[in-house]
Each structure stands twice: as C-alpha cells, then as structure tokens.
Amino acid sequence: MFGKIIRNIAIAGLLASSVLATPAGAFERTDKGNVIVFGGRQAIPVLDPHIRYDWSTRMMQQAVYDALVKYEGDPADIKPWLAESWETSADGKTWTFHLVKNAKFHNGDPVNAEAIRYSFERGLKLNKGVAWMLKDFLAPEGISVVDDYTVKFDLKAPYTPFLSFLPWWYIVNPAQVKANEVDGDYGQKWLTDHEAGSGPFKLGRWEPNVLYEAEAVSDYWKGWPQGDANRPAGVIYKIIREPAAQKAALQRGEADIVEGLTPDDYVQIKRVPGIAIEDHKGMTTFGIKFNTQQGPTADINLRKAIAYAMDYDALIQVYNGAATLETSPIPDAMKGHIDVPGIPRKDLAKAKEYLAKSAYPNGGITLPYVHVAGLEEARRIGLVLLDSLKPLNINVEIKPEQWPNMVANGSKVETSPAMTSVYTTPVSTDPDAVAYQYHKNSWGQYFAMMFYDSPKVTEMIDKARSSSNWDERAKLYADIQTQIVADQPEVFGMLQNRRWARRDYLQGFQFSPVRFTGEVDLYPLWVKAE
C-alpha cells in the first residue's frame, strides 16, 4: 500500500517538475502598465513612519516617503536625497541640511524645512518606533528652520553616528497630518493606513493582511532611474505566509519576487528556468547569547567550552552555504571591522579542556536554548547545538518563545535563559550600532541578553561614539572587538546571506546590506518586456 502511495506521489512529483519547466504567466498587467508583485510573509500593521518599523513596514515606508538622505549600494553609502548637502560644526554638535527645491509631497505641497522640523519633532514627541535612535542626543527644541530650504539640528552632545540614522527618519507632510489629527494624536490614527509622503510611490489598495499596493508617482520629483518608459505602474506587496505557497506563486508567475523561502528552496529553485536568485552578503549577525551573570553560563570556562564544541560548519550547511562565519562581533560590511584572531572554531579537545576547568567538569547539565518561535533556521541551529554539545555531556532543551515573551524574559538577569539565539541587524553602517550592544546601558534590550559587563569595553564605546576622528575610533573598535571575543559572551555565529528569488524579467534590483532581511528598495525595480 505504501509502495503504491510512494509511486503515485513520485509520479505527481515528476508531473510537478514538468509543470515547473513550462513558462509561467508573467507579472500582473493593468491598463496603466506593469504591476510588480512582491510576495512576503510579514504583514504591515501600521504604516506610520514614526510609530513602527520592521522590514515589511519600512519597505513600504521607503516607497511612499523620502528622508533627508538614503542608504544605497553595497557597501551601503549615504546618498543625498531631500537634502542635497549638509555641514557639521567643528564640535560635532550642530548639523545643517540644505534641501532640494523641487521636492513635493503627493498632494503637491512643497517639501520644506518646516516639514523636516515637524517630522523630527513628531518622531521624538511620539517616543515610539525610531525615537530611540536620536532621543538621547536631540530634543525637539534643538531643530530649527533656518529658511524655507535649510534646517539645523543642535545636538545635546557630539554624536558621530547621527547621520547614519537619518535615512530612517521619513518626512511627512505637516499640513496633511494636522488636518487629520484626532485628540492631539499627531495624526497617528490616520497615518496607520494612509500616507503623507513625497516618495516615488503613493498608496493604492490597502487590504490589511492581504495586500498593500503602491502606485508609482508618474512625476516623482527625483525622476525614475529605469526611465519613464520602463517605470512600473506600481508594486503590490502580497502576503503569502507559506514558503510553499510563495514558491508556487513565483513559479506560476503570480509573484515576481518573493522572500522567505527556505535555504533548501533557494538551492532547488535556482535550477528552474526563468527564476533568478538574489544572493548577497548581509550584515545580520547571529549569536547564541549566554546569560553571563547567572546560572552555569556565568562561568567563562563553560562558555568557552561550548564555543569550542560548536559545529560551525553545520551553521553554514544550515544555510546551504549561503552564509559566512563571523570573525568578529562586528559584521564584515561595517566600517571598523577586523578579523579577530583566535575566535573559537570547533576544537573538541580545547572544549573539553575548558570544560574541565569549569564548575561542571563532567557536564551533566541541561541548558535551555531559546529561539523565536517560527524562526526555522534558529531552530535548526538549536539542533546543531544540541548535537554539538553531546560530546560534552551537556543536554540542550530547545525552547521556542514568542518574540514578546522572549524579550520580556531577556530584559532581566533573573529570567534570562542560559542561551538565546538572537539575530541582530544594525540599523546603520556605523560600528557604534553594533558595539553599543555590548555597552552596559544596553542591558534589558533583546540584543544585550548576555548582560555583558566589562567596564573596559563600556568605557571604550563611550569614547568612540563621541570622537569624530575616524582613525582614533578604528583603533578603539579593534580593541573592543578583541576584548569581546576574549570574554565570549556569546557563541559568534554566522552572517547569513540575504536572498530573494525573482523572475528573471524583474530588473533593477539593488542590494544594500543595511536594509533589513527581506527588505527591498522598490524604487529602482522594473520589468523587462520579453
């Protein structure tokens, strides 16, 4: 009976692959032109740029809004956008931006200095979403309109990474927002599913949990890089939750680009004609964070033993080779990165040596490994860890947690588990974005679940972030990296590649490592007609 089923299924599989070989339908065409369909797993609950950001939200924010500057390219570079130029004062506290004159919001209002001031004030006063990036250094009063097209920021203290955060502060149209204000909410309610931006797209259909449509602005002030003829009529971001369904949609041409396939899917789908894989080295670090303050992992020897027992090759295999091992806490694409010598690689002898020095010379303990529920790779790495620690006679209990619960538990030393797997994507290209995770002030944040406590490192970080001399900073960051690796607050994992699968007629894909996993700059995309 089984044999028959297997045979039938095998035939079905053959049929399936033959279907895959036939050219599938293309992108959606409308009377206005081509509409590109992006299939993704994550919904966009709130579009308001000052309330929330995650990859799907920010992708749509980036499409409908502009910021003063924009990250582009690999390695990521800060490009002038609404601001055509800027200067810093000598003490690094005052930043002056000069705006382009032709930018206008979708309703025709010009993008002026007041709009910039209002947007930053709004972001800071709401104290949500992006506020954390600047609120320690910038007060709403510190923003001033110099003239219609000049705006000035007075920081509380010198803060070199200031500029690197600005691409994420999108500019809203104060007139539209104020018109839709309810009970002094800064238009929060309205901006949830409306936009007041100046970006290359404006909002089309907005069907929560189903699809979100961005319609191209034909007379976008900055023009279209692919040329007006090739410019798509719009982009639909469609929610497709199952990887299998994503893959099917891509194969059937119901989607032109998808994110979130499994590593094995990418390998497999690459062979399908008409489909191309975007495979780029990312900046998202993966670490198994130890609780360094409490429990068995407070013992550095145990931490080292685990780090040396880890099967690093398997980490890469989990991604089917589409990942590189971390050689430092700071990702390769970031300024100031060094390859820290002696970063642990699998060495069972060393692992046992360290274990012998620890409080558990014979192992015999069970350590929890917490990962975000639903994160497939994190789960699989848990299995790798479990397998790796068997020779040390250490058992691993793999526990998936909902993100909020995991964060809540990780905010206190007492409740933080011994090992937590954490992916971190730095929001800027400045090394401070990563280094500060090891600063004591970060305790309580999810990326600081190791509760790393090194006064020396903390001091160096403080010094580096206020210095505006790059050479001095580079030296400091090198020392910071070396010291962190020596203290082993986590198992340094790998940098996974960012991957998308797209139809080959989809052109203009531009990768930038500073964007979140999955996030794509929709602006330059276009469809090449056959």
Partner: protein, 335 residues
Amino acid sequence: MLTFAFRKVLTLVGTMIGIAALTFVITNVAPGDPARLVAGPNATEDMVATIRTEYGLDKSLAEQFVVYMGDLAHGDLGTSIITTRPVLEEVLRYAPATLELVFVAMGLGIVIGVPLGMLSAVYKDGPLDQVTRIFSISGVALPAFWFGILLQLLFSVDLGWLPVSGRLPLVTRPPEALTGLLLVDSLLAGQFSTFWVSFQHIILPAIVLSFPCLASILRVNRAEMIEVLQSDYIVAARAHGISSFRIVALYALKNALLPTLAMIGLRFGWMLGSTVLVETVFDWPGIGLYAVSSALSSDFKPVVGVTLMIGFFFIVANTLVDLAYAWIDPRLRKA
C-alpha cells in the same frame, strides 16, 4: 414567542460575557509583553512604557478586566496593540471572508453528507455503507492542514487548475462590498467573471473545511435514518403501501433531519474554529488568520475578540437551528 426570543437574547448575552471573561483570563495569565513587540527591537524602557500606558497595560490585571468588560458593554472590543485599530472594526472586516468560507463548506457538507448518509442507511452494512463509513471517518481523521497542502500541491501546483491561495487574483478589484461575501457581491454587481474567479479560489479551502463536517453530518444522518427506518411509523407506512422511495426520501428523512440539524449547528461552531488552520494554509484573510497572527504576537485583545465573535456566530447558528427545529417539528411549534 417574545419570551422565547427574550430568553435567547439573555442566554446569548450571558454566554458572551462568560466567554469574554474566560478568554480574557486565559490570555492574560501569561507573561507576554505585547508593548515591547510594538515598541520595536531597539526601543528603550521609557518608549515601551509609553505604549503600555497608551493601551492601559500598566494597570493591574483586575483593573484591565474591569475596563475591558466596561468597554464591552458599549460594544467596544478594545484596540489591537499591533495594528492600533479597534478590534471590532477589524473583526468585522475579516468576518465576511470567514463566513463565506464556512457557508460554502457547510453547503458542501450538507449537499453531499445528507444524501450519502441516507443512502448508506438504506443499504446498511452493504458495500456502499462500508465505503462511505471509511470515507466519512477518513474525513474526520484527515489533518486539515496536511490535506490542504496536498490539495494545493495537486490542483494548484501540479495541475494548475486552481489558484494556490487567497480570495481573488491580485489585479481583480473586488466588487462593491454589500455583504462582504465575494460570491454574493460579485453576482449582485453582475460581475460574473469575478464570481467565477472567486469561486475558483474558495473551492479548495471549502473542500478541506467541509470534509470533517461532511463526515459527521453523514454519520449522524445515517445513524438517525437507520433508527427512523426501524421505527413503528415507517413500518406502518410500509404496511399502508407507501412506496419505498417516498418513505426514505420524505417520511424518514424529515425525521432524521432533526438530529442532523443539531449536528449542523454544532459543526458550524467547530468549523469556525477550524478556519484557524485552513485559513493559515490557504492564506484566507478571515478571522482565523487574524486570530493566529495576533496570538503569535501576544496581541490578545483580537484573540478575545475573535473568540467572542465565533461564540456569537455559534450561538446565533444554534438559535437558527432551534427555530428550524420548531419549523420542522409541529410538537415544538406551540409556544
């Protein structure tokens, strides 16, 4: 009749309050912290606190409960912390999709289940009966999620006959939402092509959803038919020379339909619950999917809201079943 309606409404309100209390307590005992999720990965403590205050999460659980029940009395199901929208508004937005799915699935279940049940009762213990028995029990035993994936694989990926998921193709503009049920709306608007594509979209999830329900309708109908067919009045009808077909299809069926109706009412609620799975597999934008995604983000107001909504529909369905009972059974007609 009025007192009957009044009593029904009273039970409904009581049950709703009960469900609300039950789910609220259940979902709030856990340590989850949705505020932190909403605040974003890098948010500082004071930012999280801002959100907590905004949503009243800083209050004690008892206070939150009082506030929630108070709001509920005004028809306010609270606000989703993730989408910042009133839960009622969202539930009402997603409910038609779910109801449409459930209606179609229920229709399938009844149209296939009742006649099959009838036939297998008439040919009890015969080959047809054995086949339908295994078939119907398979229906209950099939994991909906697995079956759904298999069907997708076969009909969408393999044969390419039907769409993989969703309610409509991307570029198809939905018709004006009068009922929210696409099949109905598209017909009302005279958009037959839209009707056709939305029918193609609904067919797979409806089949998956209807299977277990079809099975239990079949089983109940069969069991009841067997019992009714052995009853004295059927013997009498035979003795009086009424034709076998008429006996089975009219006399016995009407009697057997009563328990079947009760099962349909019960299954209606069950179906609403299972949409959770089917909607996940087929990306069907209904309340089930909404509940799952909210639950996964520890956003519990929507979970409570959806549970209430399902409870509400369930009770309404069962009230309708009661009415249908009274309509069919003259013994219950007297008030």
